[in-house]
C-alpha cells in the first residue's frame, strides 16, 4: 500500500502531518483528499508526499570493509535536447569496488528515465564511449559521460590514496561536478578532524574556478599540505 502524508504547519510554526493509505498513487484522489483537508483545518498545508516500500530478495551480505563507490554522472537539459550540461548526479554504492560499479550506469536500458535530483537527464550514456574513470590511474576528459570515484572509509592508507586521487579528480572535473564532488568530500569527512583539509580543498576549488588560470604551484603546495594532514590524522 502507498502511504500518503499531508504536512501542516500552524501559526506557532509547529509541524504535523496526517496520513492515509492508498492502493495506488492516484494524483486526482490525492489532490481531492488534500483539498478536503484544507477546508477542514485552519493550519496551512506545506507539502504532500506519497511513498511505498518494496522489500527485495537479495544475497546474503559478504563484506564489511565499508568500501563505497561513488558515481558522478553528468545531467543534461531535457527540455530542448541541447545536451547542455546543467547538473551532476552523484550516487553512492555501499560495499562495491570500482571494477563492478563502473558497469552500473553503462547500460542504456537501466539509465532510461533516470534523472538528477533536479530532474535533468542522465540517460543516453553510450557504453564504451567515455569510459568511467576510477581514482587509481584514470582521469576524465570532455568526452566522458560519467565518472567513477571509489572511496574507502575505514583504512587510513586507502583513505590517503583515495583522497589524493579524489582531490585530483575534483581539480580535473568541470566546475559543476567539482562543486558536487567537494560537497561529497565534506559529507564523507564529517565527524573526522579534517577541517584543514576542507579549507585547503575549498581554496583549490576557488583557484580552479577563477577563470581557469590556476596557479599550479599554489595548488601543488596546498595538495601537499592536505596529504600531510591526512597522514598525521
Amino acid at each position: 500500500m502507498w502511504r500518503l502524508r499531508v504536512w501542516f504547519r500552524d501559526i506557532s510554526g509547529t509541524v504535523s502531518y496526517t496520513g492515509a493509505w492508498l492502493r495506488s498513487p492516484n494524483e486526482t484522489a490525492i489532490f481531492a483528499f488534500v483539498e478536503a483537508l484544507r477546508a477542514l483545518s485552519d493550519a496551512q498545508i506545506t507539502h504532500v508526499d506519497v511513498l511505498r516500500r518494496f522489500p527485495y530478495d537479495s544475497q546474503v551480505p559478504s563484506g564489511r570493509d565499508r568500501g563505497i563507490s561513488v558515481l558522478v554522472h553528468r545531467a543534461t537539459d531535457n527540455t530542448n535536447n541541447t545536451n547542455t550540461e546543467l547538473d551532476a548526479f552523484p550516487m553512492w554504492v555501499p560495499e562495491a569496488d570500482s571494477g563492478l560499479a563502473r558497469d552500473l550506469w553503462g547500460h542504456s536500458v537501466l539509465v532510461r528515465d533516470y534523472a538528477s535530483r533536479a530532474g535533468y537527464n542522465i540517460d543516453n550514456p553510450t557504453p564504451g564511449d567515455g569510459e568511467p574513470v576510477s581514482l587509481d590511474n584514470e582521469y576524465p576528459d570532455d568526452t566522458d559521460d560519467y565518472y567513477l570515484i571509489a572511496v574507502r572509509r575505514n583504512f587510513w592508507h586507502r583513505l590517503l590514496r583515495d583522497a589524493r586521487a579524489y582531490n585530483t579528480l575534483a581539480m580535473t572535473l568541470p566546475d559543476r561536478q567539482a562543486r558536487r564532488v567537494r560537497l561529497d568530500i565534506r559529507d564523507l569527512f564529517l565527524g573526522v578532524p579534517m577541517r584543514e583539509v576542507l579549507e585547503r580543498l575549498d581554496r583549490i576549488i576557488e583557484l580552479l574556478e577563477n577563470g581557469g588560470n590556476a596557479n599550479t604551484d599554489e595548488i601543488r603546495r596546498l595538495l601537499l599540505q592536505i596529504i600531510a594532514a591526512l597522514g598525521s590524522s
Partner: protein
C-alpha cells in the same frame, strides 16, 4: 496556491552489510511516466545494485512529493496538537485519519465533529464514494464507512516544534 510536483520520483535503496550496519543510496526517476514503469525501473536498478555490492539489498522505497508554491498561511490560533480524529471502517477493521488543527467551527459543543457540515461531507465523499477502491486501510482493504469523528489532542515531538523557543 497550488501543489507543484517535485521533478522526480525518489528511490531510496537500503543495504545491510555482514556486520549488520545499514546504508542507503538514492536514485531519481523522471516524472511523467506511469507508476508501473517507475517501479520497473526501480526494480531494474535494484538488480544492478545488488550485482555490484557485496552487501544485502533489503529493499527500496519509492516516493513522490508536491510542494505548495504559495501557502495560504496558518489561521490565527491554529494549533496542530488539536486534532479532528476520524475513525473509518474497512471491512470491520478500523483505521484512523487525524486532521491537524481542526477548524473550531467543525467541532460541536459535545466534542464531536459536525458530520453534516459541507466540509466534512466533502471529506467523506472523497474517502468513501468519489474514489472507490483508492483509499484503504494498511492491509489494502477499501474504506467503507465512518465509525467516529471527534476532537482530540496529542503531543508534539521536539523535532517538530518551531526552532523559536520562548523563555
Amino acid at each position: 496556491m497550488a501543489l507543484i510536483p517535485d521533478p522526480v520520483y525518489t528511490v531510496t535503496y537500503t543495504f545491510q552489510d555482514e556486520t549488520g550496519s545499514k546504508a542507503t543510496t538514492q536514485a531519481y526517476i523522471r516524472q511523467g511516466i506511469v507508476i508501473d514503469d517507475v517501479i520497473a525501473r526501480a526494480n531494474a536498478l535494484a538488480a544492478a545494485l545488488r550485482n555490484v555490492s557485496n552487501a544485502q539489498l533489503t529493499g527500496y522505497t519509492i516516493s513522490r512529493g508536491w510542494t505548495e508554491d504559495a501557502p495560504a498561511g496558518a489561521g490565527g490560533g491554529s494549533r496542530v496538537e488539536r486534532k479532528g480524529r476520524t475513525i473509518w471502517l474497512a471491512d470491520t477493521y478500523k483505521t484512523r485519519i487525524d486532521i491537524p488543527s481542526i477548524a473550531t467551527g467543525q467541532v460541536l459543543p459535545d466534542g464531536a465533529l459536525n458530520r453534516n457540515s459541507v466540509q466534512f461531507l466533502a471529506l467523506r465523499a472523497v474517502l468513501l464514494t468519489d474514489f472507490v477502491g483508492d483509499f484503504t486501510d494498511s492491509r489494502g482493504v477499501s474504506l467503507d464507512a465512518l465509525a467516529a469523528a471527534y476532537e482530540s489532542y496529542t503531543r508534539t515531538t521536539p523535532k517538530r516544534q518551531p526552532t523559536r523557543k520562548l523563555a
